[in-house]
Symmetry: none
Subunit: 402 residues, 2 copies
């Protein structure tokens, strides 16, 4: 069965301008006292009006009961089946620090860790400072030399880093060295296919040299690798639908995910209003503008119910200039739920509004929120159906069959 | 494409306690006078509260318009795609009389019938008494001898029985001997694949000997076989998700279906309160408790609208101790609809409520019933999505992707 994207491709034509506004982790759960979710409690007159003038529904990011990470969450919104297209941990981390991978690169997520002899005693090296992480990454980059392969260690926050192996004929089909538990030695990296034997040897040599370089760096005297992967090859939005697409995202991971599908990435200021202002600057150059707001997810992960609600209100206050600019299609949704009550991503469907002159109107909807969206005219749909609906409402899809 | 179960398997982790309360044939149709269904007319204060505090929806057992038998109805609820996993009639009958099949056994559903010469004149032998059926089964078991194959005839009710062939190298790929109409001879059993030739010969020899044994037993002087099958091999819930799962069901068929997916079966007393009491006794030993209530379906099949409503009320009255025991996830639903007005199973979606601390709340729902569930926040989902949602709400699924 071909994916929906492949089915739609031959129907594509030019058409109107589309905005996809994603509040990361938008969906929530009711506050025990008020019975209202973060979104339902927020004062959002502009979104409420858009919901009433447009069509509402709930978006299922991956499948019933599945809690998506940021990768699957966004791929779904971009129209790509996240069960079919998988972005490995190493690649996502590389995107997260703003690295541009080449097709031949193999990336892994790395932790600085503590070892006593060979035994791993702390998988996070006591959460060393980001400064220490940066210094150790520099040290490894200066001292480690591998035959025929260049390697780069890129620091993230605290104990986290990314390692990129670049060279001809590398394979990402490797097992993790991270044992995921303490009290045991790190695992040797094993080839999961015959073609990966040489890469496994290269990576194990990297680890051997890294252990030597880090010998005196207790508590960060070991490094653990996991999630080896190569950048996936995804069909590109410009080729699929003739779309000039822009991603406007303050955090590098979301720009990286957007680049995977052929969007051009732009860095706005950190506030929601900055992202929307940037979208307006870029308006004429693009058919699809994807605007990413991170604060909702961060507040949800921190369990800060009120802050998540406030971020949503900020977005709503920043929205009028974008609405007035007159997009043909405006979608407001999230990539997944991050209920403050759970302090984590969750599987709950995500509120969704689609505004367009060609949309049906949910006149009974009084507020953009989980409960009202559950009774919206779009019903409960897969996240992968959102882009096809946007294309249709923008007049960008021809009739199928005669 | 892998099934949802297979997709979820690597995400499984341990978590909370889940109860799946199934009222067989729960869904109904409105009474012409009141416009209320059996469930809507029933006084169900506890389910109503659970519906309001949890999420409601409608469950589609197999697919649009499909009326499921008990097999597909329950497999769907257990998370197994009933279009992919099929339990043959013979196997279902064997489960129904409480037989435990071995993987090599071939089972068939049997009818005692009446013949005049070779021509079948009554496919049900005038609905002989169950006692006669038991006597004839004993007679066949004593007298029939097959080379290298043991055979067992197990009586059901009236003219119905199950025949189990046990031996090495048997194949279930056989055509029926039951012609499904009268006025013609029974059909010879034919092999549907070359490997089934010997089994076909064995079965035809069984029928020849049975005709001889039954010669003087008019009106039960023939036996018709259909629905040859072997027990299907289904992935097991304990292996898929690390679940210790119990089935609490008064009727053997439902215990048999539950054992097919790796549940341990327990026999409660005949009343709804007995089943719930038994679930409470078994509480600590299991992660998932499947409680089956038959009375709703029986009343529906009898066309007894009021009795179906009363059974639902009985279940509601028995429910508080189970709710107070504090399951992490409680689902109340049915395996299919059995509207008393139709006196049979039907294709209508089934009311569904999911209660959990991590569930969204359908505060607008005032009553657990078909109409209110149609506006519930879960929307209309496949039965196979219920178990994934239960796992998620019980905290039993890790995040997918980074």
């Amino acid at each position: 069965m071909a994916s929906l994207l492949e089915f739609l491709r031959p129907l594509a034509r030019s058409g109107g301008k589309m905005v996809l506004l994603v509040m990361d982790g938008l969906g929530g759960l009711p506050h025990p006292e008020t019975g209202l979710t973060e979104l339902e409690a927020a004062r959002t007159p502009t979104m409420d009006r858009l919901a009433r003038e447009g069509s509402c529904g709930l978006s299922v990011p991956v499948a019933a009961g599945v809690t998506p990470g940021s990768g699957p969450g966004h791929l779904g919104l971009f129209g790509y089946d996240p069960q079919r297209y998988v972005v490995g941990r190493g690649v996502l981390s590389a995107l997260g620090v703003g690295l541009t991978l080449e097709p031949r690169d193999v990336a892994a997520r790395a932790n600085f860790a503590t070892r006593d002899g060979d035994v791993i005693t702390d998988r996070r090296a006591g959460r060393i400072s980001t400064e220490t992480c940066q210094r150790l990454a520099r040290l490894l980059n200066e001292r480690i030399r591998l035959e025929g392969v260049s390697v780069r260690v890129e620091p993230e926050m605290q104990h986290r880093a990314v390692v990129i192996f670049r060279g001809e004929g590398l394979s990402p089909r490797l097992s993790d060295s991270d044992p995921q538990v303490t009290g045991v030695p790190a695992l040797p990296v094993r080839a999961l296919e015959p073609e990966a034997e040489r890469t496994a040897a290269v990576v194990n040599e990297f680890i051997r040299q890294a252990y030597a370089v880090l010998e005196e760096e207790h508590p960060a005297n070991a490094i653990l690798l996991r999630g080896f992967d190569r950048q996936p090859h995804l069909p590109q939005l410009p080729e699929l639908f003739g779309l000039r697409a822009a991603a406007i995202a303050y955090y590098p991971m979301y720009r990286g995910l957007a680049r995977l599908v052929g969007m051009e990435a732009h860095v706005p200021g950190p506030e929601p209003a900055d992202a929307i202002a940037r979208a307006l600057e870029l308006w004429d150059g693009y058919d699809l503008l994807f605007v990413h707001i991170k604060g909702t997810d961060s507040a949800g992960e921190d369990g800060d119910w009120a802050r998540k609600s406030r971020v949503i209100e900020e977005v709503d206050r920043a929205l009028p200039p974008l609405v007035e600019r007159g997009p043909d299609v405006l979608v407001v949704t999230g990539d997944h739920s991050t209920p403050a009550m759970l302090r984590s991503h969750s599987w709950h469907p995500v509120p969704l509004l689609l505004w367009a002159r060609t949309a049906r109107r949910d006149r009974h909807v009084t507020k953009f929120g989980e409960s009202e969206c559950a009774r919206g005219s779009l019903g409960q749909i897969r996240a992968t159906e959102i882009l096809p609906l946007m294309l249709a409402h923008a007049g960008r899809l021809n009739k199928y069959g005669a």
